[in-house]
């Protein structure tokens, strides 16, 4: 490698053109503690003559009492920037370094090896095109090597160089090298890297860094820097579907209204039709504005301001796409989540989710499994601790636009923010949208819920009763329906017993059947609400997860959870159908309240105390509260 330097006989403009036209490779170094990451980067900077005289002087000063190479310098001191890091001799946080050659500019993220700093490693990896995975030739593949490789695949790093370092300390033995490479290839196979190249190096002595070393004559591959200069990593972002994230509505005066943001992928030209992912509204791009003059087209990566040909509602967070090639738009998706906070992640807890410029309250509704980052095995879990990785279902309070991360990292990666501490507690990648995920063909019908409900002079909605058998749900629901009907409202009651005689007669009382029971009822309720009705649902619905599912299925429909809180002692005494007696006698299995739990609703809209007031009083109270 020769340093990119202008010489007096170079034409400066030509040289500048080369400078400005160079491609940029962002890579990170990772691997176990003491594998020599910082030393390798120090070596790269030193060999590319980017360590300047004053830095070198202060470096020699600091290098006393440390293990040094032939140059008398501890290269790791070049990159370990924080006092605590220099004191402890470890890397805590990701450090960014810059160097360039004739062919390329490089931004290097030097990331920490310690498990406790995995989140910082993920920070460095999230913006990298390629990773150098360092291995100490004497130690071979370690737990941290595996963990880092898994995190790389998780955040979508596609290109890996396996740097077998300290090859000098195993006497440049090719067997050691080949054994390590074979073992790593076998391990990394399921991680889906596009390229995987291995290089034997000594960062301390400079073997196979800039050029092939005579001491490893058995190695036929390229040395590290020539390989980094030549590898093609650029994903063709321009060929992908057009996505534009609106960051800022630019409205300096009444005559101009533009949408400022970045073209995440694809390209857009003046005259192209675009569609707002959320509202499905169409418009045509009339101008692409920049300070340097209007453009005809803009491609992936450019930050521009779009002007549309008509007044449609577009605001920060909206995603623009081309008709027919739109992102998913849903309030539920499956994702892989890496947890980054000392306080564990629990399903059911609410966070703020930020994806692009969209910020929305979100809940982890289901933790499907946790992946052991060291062995890649999946196992059941009830929470995710710091640095753990899980596969989860996430529900957002309102629908957002996204793409699977594998298709489009910039519209598929998100962070979770704790609502109290404001800490970034997790980072996730969308696997796929759930439920109404096939919105791609979802039509915005001209006659919709609002229109139908307006014809009936009411707000379509779902009133969901939950409570023990015999708590008074059905009685109160009946009274409510009577009062509403008397006022001219159109209602319909979905009752547990009745539905089980028809739609759900194929379902039993196992846990899975109960979930399916609720899902079907919730979907029916949603359809009826779409038809403009006030739907009153009276189901025991004992589990919080199912009630949440029902609420999620309701989507944008007003959903009122009514908890009829009648003590077990009272309902057992009432026992209108004699069911409690039979359950106590063991004649009915899985009976809620007896041998199957009733999870008290965490956050119902209203609680009715069935033991304290008559059903009529309770129906009045509810009726007044609902303000239908």
């Amino acid at each position: 490698m020769t340093l990119a330097m202008a010489t007096p006989d170079t034409d400066l403009d030509l040289w500048l053109e080369q400078q400005t036209g160079k491609s940029l490779l962002r890579f990170l170094t990772c691997g176990s503690v003491d594998d020599g990451k910082s030393t390798l980067i120090g070596r790269l900077l030193y060999d590319s003559q980017l360590v300047l005289d004053d830095q070198l002087a202060s470096l020699r000063n600091e290098s006393r009492n440390r293990s040094v190479g032939e140059e008398g310098i501890d290269f790791s001191l070049l990159v370990d920037g924080l006092s605590a890091e220099r004191e402890q001799g470890i890397t805590i946080d990701v450090a960014y370094r810059f160097f360039s050659t004739h062919k390329r500019k490089f931004i290097v993220a030097d990331t920490p090896g310690h498990e406790q700093y995995t989140r910082n490693m993920a920070t460095g990896a999230s913006n990298a095109d390629l990773a150098l995975v360092l291995i100490d030739a004497r130690k071979g593949i370690l737990t941290q090597t595996r963990r880092h490789s898994f995190i790389l695949s998780l955040v979508g790093v596609k290109h890996v160089v396996l740097v077998v370092n300290k090859i000098d300390l195993v006497d440049y033995d090719q067997d050691v090298f080949h054994r390590i490479v074979a073992e790593y290839r076998a391990f990394a196979e399921p991680l889906g890297f596009k390229t995987l190249q291995a290089v034997p190096v000594s960062a301390l002595r400079g073997d196979n860094i800039l050029r092939s070393s005579e001491r490893t004559a058995w190695f036929n591959g390229a040395a590290l820097v020539p390989y980094l200069e030549s590898i093609e990593v650029a994903e063709d972002r321009v060929a992908a579907d057009f996505r534009f994230s609106v960051q800022w509505v630019n409205r300096p005066n009444l005559d101009f209204r533009g949408f400022s943001g970045t073209v995440l992928s694809g390209e857009i030209a003046v005259g192209d039709e675009v569609l707002v992912a959320a509202s499905r509204k169409l418009a045509v791009v009339s101008r692409i504005v920049t300070l340097d003059g209007d453009l005809d087209t803009a491609i992936a990566g450019q930050a521009v301001t779009l002007v549309l040909d008509r007044e449609i509602d577009v605001s920060r967070g909206d995603v623009l796409a081309r008709p027919g090639k739109v992102p998913e738009f849903s309030n539920q998706f499956q994702a892989r989540l890496i947890w980054m906070n000392e306080e564990p992640a629990y399903p059911g807890r609410s966070y703020l989710l930020k994806l692009g410029a969209q910020v929305v309250p979100a809940t982890i509704t289901d933790l499907k499994f946790r992946t052991n980052v060291n062995t890649l095995e999946n196992g059941a879990a009830t929470k995710l601790d710091l640095n753990e990785v899980g596969t989860v279902t996430i529900a957002t309070d309102r629908a957002i636009a996204f793409d699977p991360y594998a298709n489009n990292p910039l519209s598929g990666g998100f962070i979770l923010i704790d609502r109290l501490s404001n800490a970034t507690v997790g980072a996730g990648t969308v696997s796929y949208g759930l439920r109404r995920a096939q919105n791609l063909t979802y039509q915005t019908f001209d006659v919709n819920r609002q229109v139908r409900a307006q014809m009936k002079g009411q707000d379509a909605q779902i009133v969901w009763f939950t409570g023990l058998s015999g708590s008074g749900k059905s009685t109160i629901a009946n009274l409510l329906e009577k009062r509403l009907t008397a006022e001219g409202r159109h209602c319909y009651i979905l009752d547990g017993d009745n539905v089980r005689h028809g739609l759900n007669k194929d379902l039993g009382f196992t846990e899975a059947a109960r979930v399916e029971n609720i899902r079907r009822v919730a979907e029916v309720a949603r359809l009826m609400a779409d038809a403009g009705l006030i739907v009153i649902v009276s189901f025991i619905s004992p589990f919080e997860n199912e009630r949440r599912l029902a609420r999620e299925i309701a989507g944008g429909v007003r959903f009122t959870e009514v908890y009829v809180d009648t003590p077990l002692s009272v309902v057992e005494q009432r026992d209108p159908k004699g069911l409690y007696k039979r359950a106590r006698a063991g004649e009915i299995k899985n009976f809620t309240g007896i041998d199957s739990p009733f999870e008290v609703p965490e956050d119902p809209e209203i609680v009715l105390h069935g033991g304290d007031e008559t059903p009529s009083e309770l129906a009045d109270r509810l009726h007044a509260w609902l303000k239908i």
Partner: protein
């Protein structure tokens, strides 16, 4: 400038910076942009104009005036503010001014603390700014290489380097508690060479002090100090002499070393920089006090 189907690295850096600036404007209630009048500030200003065109920059620019800035810097500042019509706030620590704090009698570190760090805190508190945009780059100094683009500060403006928020992709966590603030560095990923080539390519105006010209200087322990006004005390027998010099970095004139150079235009500067063997911060006397001094200053609220 679009080269086929791919952006050049400078175009990519420019777009990234613009995206960050827009995120600041959209996410914070009272953002402010630090304006130090140096070349990095000039690039930042240029990027901000691009980010919000045809609108105006939607936040004010803040200059912390230590009263020892080069006169040419102040003239350039006022000219630039007038030309582009941005809102300029200049703040000087009133107690420091009253007590006549200067680098000669009070030492560079005490002077810097009172007139820069404390003055900055005063200005940020007075304006109740929740985000302050600065032109620091990661290639400048080791602790800066570790800092996030959106760098959290507690209510006393302190940085906690061991507990930085993870920062993935370009999804920035901009949430704050009352009293806390964010320092934002849109050109984090630029190098000094990127800055110069961008200034050249975009024809961005910079303070003339960057260009070589005969200037009155005195040499003190190897550092060339420009005698910008009569406040610089001269040692017995010390007389300013005219030398052709320029500055790689600009700050307070008594603390900023000039370099001997004949580079009087941008191409020569870039050429010279390519051949140079010292880093730009070497000309700043405040960084070399002790190992880790920048990290310490940042923890105390320095930019």
């Amino acid at each position: 400038m679009v080269d086929g189907q791919r952006l050049s690295h400078l175009q990519a850096l420019e777009a990234e910076s613009i995206e960050i600036l827009r995120e600041v404007a959209a996410s914070f209630e009272r953002p402010v942009m630090m304006y130090s009048i140096g070349k990095d500030s000039s690039v930042l200003l240029h990027l901000a104009r691009k980010a919000f065109y045809p609108g105006k920059i939607p936040f004010p620019l803040l200059h912390v005036n230590t009263t020892f800035k080069f006169r040419e810097m102040i003239a350039f500042r006022d000219r630039t503010a007038e030309e582009y019509g941005f809102e300029l706030i200049s703040h000087t620590n009133p107690e420091g001014l009253r007590d006549g704090i200067n680098p000669f009698d009070h030492g560079s570190s005490r002077y810097t603390d009172i007139m820069k760090t404390q003055a900055l805190r005063q200005a940020l508190n007075a304006g109740r700014y929740d985000a302050a945009v600065g032109g620091a780059r990661r290639d400048e100094e080791k602790s800066r290489a570790k800092e996030r683009v959106f760098s959290h500060r507690n209510a006393s403006h302190a940085w906690d380097p061991k507990n930085q928020r993870p920062e993935l992709w370009r999804v920035f966590n901009t949430r704050l508690h009352p009293g806390e603030s964010m320092r934002v560095f849109p050109i984090s990923n630029w190098t000094e060479l990127d800055v110069w080539t961008y200034i050249y390519a975009e024809d961005i105006p910079i303070v003339p002090l960057y260009f070589a010209k005969p200037r009155p200087v005195v040499e003190r322990s190897g550092t060339l100090i420009m005698v910008d006004d009569e406040r610089l005390p001269l040692a017995p027998g010390e007389t300013p002499r005219m030398e052709t010099v320029r500055f790689r970095t600009l700050g307070c004139y008594p603390l900023t070393g000039a370099i001997r150079s004949t580079a009087a235009d941008l191409p020569s500067i870039i050429m010279e920089m390519q051949a140079s063997r010292t880093s730009e911060r070497e000309g700043r006397l405040i960084d070399s006090d002790s190992v880790g001094s920048m990290e310490k200053k940042k923890q105390e609220g320095y930019f």
